[in-house]
Assembly symmetry: C2
Amino acid sequence: MQDLEKILENKNVKPTAMRLLVLQLLRNKNAAVSLTDLEDHFIKSDRTTIYRTLKTFVKNEIAHKIVDGTGITKYALCEENCHCEIETDLHVHFHCKICNETICFPKNKIPYIKLPDGYEADNVSLTVTGICDKCNT
Amino acid sequence: MQDLEKILENKNVKPTAMRLLVLQLLRNKNAAVSLTDLEDHFIKSDRTTIYRTLKTFVKNEIAHKIVDGTGITKYALCEENCHCEIETDLHVHFHCKICNETICFPKNKIPYIKLPDGYEADNVSLTVTGICDKCNT
DNA sequence: CACATAAATGCACTTCCGTTGCACTATAAA
DNA sequence: TTTATAGTGCAACGGAAGTGCATTTATGTG
């Protein structure tokens, strides 16, 4: 619990109760979570507060915003030493259409994409949709 | 115009007026379009009709559904001989955060992603976000 | 300690998009 | 012509993201 505060302070984010709770949950879950997930979990807290907490986390490079094709924004903790650089820090995500979970594949870095002249990339997302190992018969 | 009907009939879709219009627009645009885009363009037509037209197109492999990270579903025509197979038919998409357009890079096929044992893929999306050549200074 | 300021939180509300149910219309088959 | 089927239009719902404003909590200063 102590080190959770450290994580926030290192990113210049004040360790409020809400932030610590969200951070803790993100850390214990290896799947990406949505705003609604958090809302259902922290029933005493307001949606807006959680919403803004996540926004702060993304802005201060504590968490990633993940696009998994469901249309619902998910969030997951950045890896250690992540600076959200597109060449080095981005990995593949997998969305299971059965259990509806979205998980990170940190080992699978996103390969380099050569764009035509004039195009400039600042983010890349690669999502695989299918059936995860647990849901696979 | 004649061949538009052919395209639909080849996919077992009856060539109604609405479908021909949507197909024509998708063909002339090299960018992916959203339901709202079409709605704004065909102001005399109902949203639901266009929605279902797109749904039919996707089901019958006339168009792709595209995830570009904006949270808004976009659509683009399948390439010739596309069967929406993940190994061969899927390509990279680029979303420009300035002009808000999403375009296809049919030349950039999505590289093969090796998943852990037990995982089964049925779709892959790779989207690059940034600034397109037209919006780049 | 008292006060002033700023940050964080909670509540209400809005907007946007996707989706569905139902009635109506046009088209194709008998 | 009648009947069935497919397509279209209208209305409405629900989920999710986002905003404005009031209230509470934390922080700093005299």
